[in-house]
């Protein structure tokens, strides 16, 4: 009997082989006729200008940061949840304190407006004054 993770490995290898095989077949049967226009970047028919690797909204980074904090929390709570009924009250209180600490962070973000995707212009100056 193979261990379960070995089966997952077999699964991965078979999946990779299938995809590689399909890519190979499609490469063999499809036409090759590249032209400069075909290979240009799509911009709704306009001639594309500049690179697209541009600056983008800082909020995407903020979301990523919040995500990391809470996802670590989730990973930590899984083992806790499984043995919760055996530990009883102690586990409940401990997890409660832990979640409340994280909730304080969420409350702060909420108040600062980092959870709002669209901000009004009135909100912006208030942040500059350091409130």
């Amino acid at each position: 009997m193979l261990t379960d993770f070995a089966t997952v490995l077999v699964f991965m290898v078979l999946g990779a082989v299938t995809v590689a095989l399909l890519l190979l077949v499609s490469r063999l049967v499809q036409p090759r006729d590249p032209t400069p226009v075909k290979l240009s970047t799509y911009e709704c028919g306009e001639v594309p200008f500049g690179s697209s690797w541009v600056q983008f909204n800082i909020r995407f980074y903020v979301v990523a940061l919040i995500f990391i904090i809470f996802d670590v929390e989730v990973a930590l709570l899984y083992p806790w949840a499984v043995i919760f009924q055996r530990l009883g009250m102690v586990a409940f209180v401990e997890a409660f304190v832990f979640i409340v600490i994280l909730l304080a962070g969420l409350a702060y973000l909420w108040k600062e407006g980092d959870l709002d995707w669209v901000r009004t212009m009135q909100d912006a100056p208030a942040r500059k004054e350091g409130k």
Partner: protein, 367 residues
């Protein structure tokens, strides 16, 4: 020394599951179009035919597959060549791999050998599920960035921000299930759901965790980028989102990934919240109804009913995706983010709190 026989069994089992998932994906592309068509009072695909037989357009997915294979697959000049080619594989691989831990039925004993109807009964089942499905975001980000085009970049960014926002709620919403069933192995969770609640109701996840179910379903739709959360590919704004620059077979890999996500998602809902392969009131020997009435069913019948029950539940939730897609309009992006962080997250934390409290009360009250 690798035991060759065991390896053969593993390969055979994987092949069967593969065929099941891909078969369902093919059917889903047809169901999606046909469902859309009927909801909009039109016919949908009905032209593709083999030897004059159309079979309600069932050959349409086949025609699609052939077309994907035979179309030219080019790489835009400005794209990052390596990442551009890696991205579809990064999208497809996690989608397929998540299937590995979902149990299709109870372990079967044939000729003295026990065969589990599950590719791998991992002891960290749910952790594996979330770890692997979390990787899906790489495919989206890589595709969006490596295309070096404005629409894919925006689509990729939006999509990744949305996926990670809902991943937190997705993870937290099933915490209650783990607390109730005290297991992280999916087969044990399914076994736990075979019991009865108050002696009448099957102890399915949806009955013990109704709020958790709603949260999980919502987060799953957001994770799979399905309507009403399909902003990453909001056609009216972003052409096709992160896979705008992809053509031919690489494009089809993104499509396959999306549909496999849907199928696996439906299977996971069925497993965690609807008892997996459990059939209501069906025990190993036959039906045992709450009133004391019992009907004996032969072992083979029990097995067929159980596998059928799992497949039936999965198919229902597959259909639900289509149903929701053509019923509910798309959210605006700020609404999606607000829902994710300001509603789903606090609610899922509240759900854990209430579940813990109730479990403690039951423990102390002794009922």
């Amino acid at each position: 020394m690798i035991p060759l026989f065991d390896l053969g069994v593993a390969v055979a089992r994987v092949a069967v599951f593969f065929a099941f998932v891909f078969g369902l994906v093919v059917v889903m592309t047809w169901v999606e179009r046909k469902g859309a068509a009927y909801m909009q009072d039109r016919r949908g695909p009905n032209r593709a035919r083999i030897l004059g037989i159309t079979l309600f357009g069932m050959f349409h997915p086949l025609a699609d597959a052939l077309k994907f294979l035979f179309k030219e697959d080019f790489i835009p000049d400005n794209a990052h060549r390596l990442f551009y080619q890696l991205a579809p594989m990064f999208a497809l691989a996690p989608a397929i791999l998540t299937m590995a831990v979902v149990p299709f039925g109870p372990p079967v004993t044939i000729a003295g050998k026990t065969i589990s109807l599950q590719i791998a009964d991992l002891n960290v089942g749910i952790l594996y599920l979330f770890a692997v499905s979390g990787l899906a975001v790489y495919g989206v980000v890589l595709a969006g960035w490596s295309s070096n085009s404005k629409y894919p970049l925006l689509g990729g960014l939006r999509s990744s921000a949305q996926m990670i926002s809902y991943e937190v709620s997705l993870g937290l919403s099933i915490m209650g299930i783990l607390m109730v069933f005290q297991a992280i192995r999916l087969s044990e969770i399914v076994l736990g759901q075979g019991e009865l609640l108050f002696g009448i109701l099957p102890k399915w996840g949806v009955f013990v965790q109704p709020l958790g179910f709603v949260l999980f379903l919502t987060a799953l739709y957001a994770e799979a980028n399905r309507t009403p959360f399909d902003l990453p590919e909001g056609e009216s704004e972003l052409v096709a989102g992160y896979h705008t620059e992809y053509a031919s077979f690489k494009f089809s890999m993104f499509m396959m990934a999306e549909y496999i996500h849907m199928v696996v998602g439906a299977a996971v809902i069925a497993t965690l919240f609807f008892g997996g392969w459990q059939f209501p009131y069906l025990a190993d020997k036959g039906f045992a109804f709450p009133g004391g009435l019992s009907v004996t069913v032969p072992a083979a019948g029990v097995l067929v009913l159980r596998i059928g029950s799992f497949i039936g539940k999965t198919l229902f939730f597959c259909w639900l995706y289509v149903w929701v897609r053509w019923t509910i309009p798309r959210f605006r992006y700020d609404q999606v983010m607000r829902l994710g962080w300001k509603v789903m997250l606090p609610l899922s934390l509240l759900n854990i709190f209430v579940t813990g409290l109730v479990l403690l009360l039951i423990d102390k009250g002794g009922f």
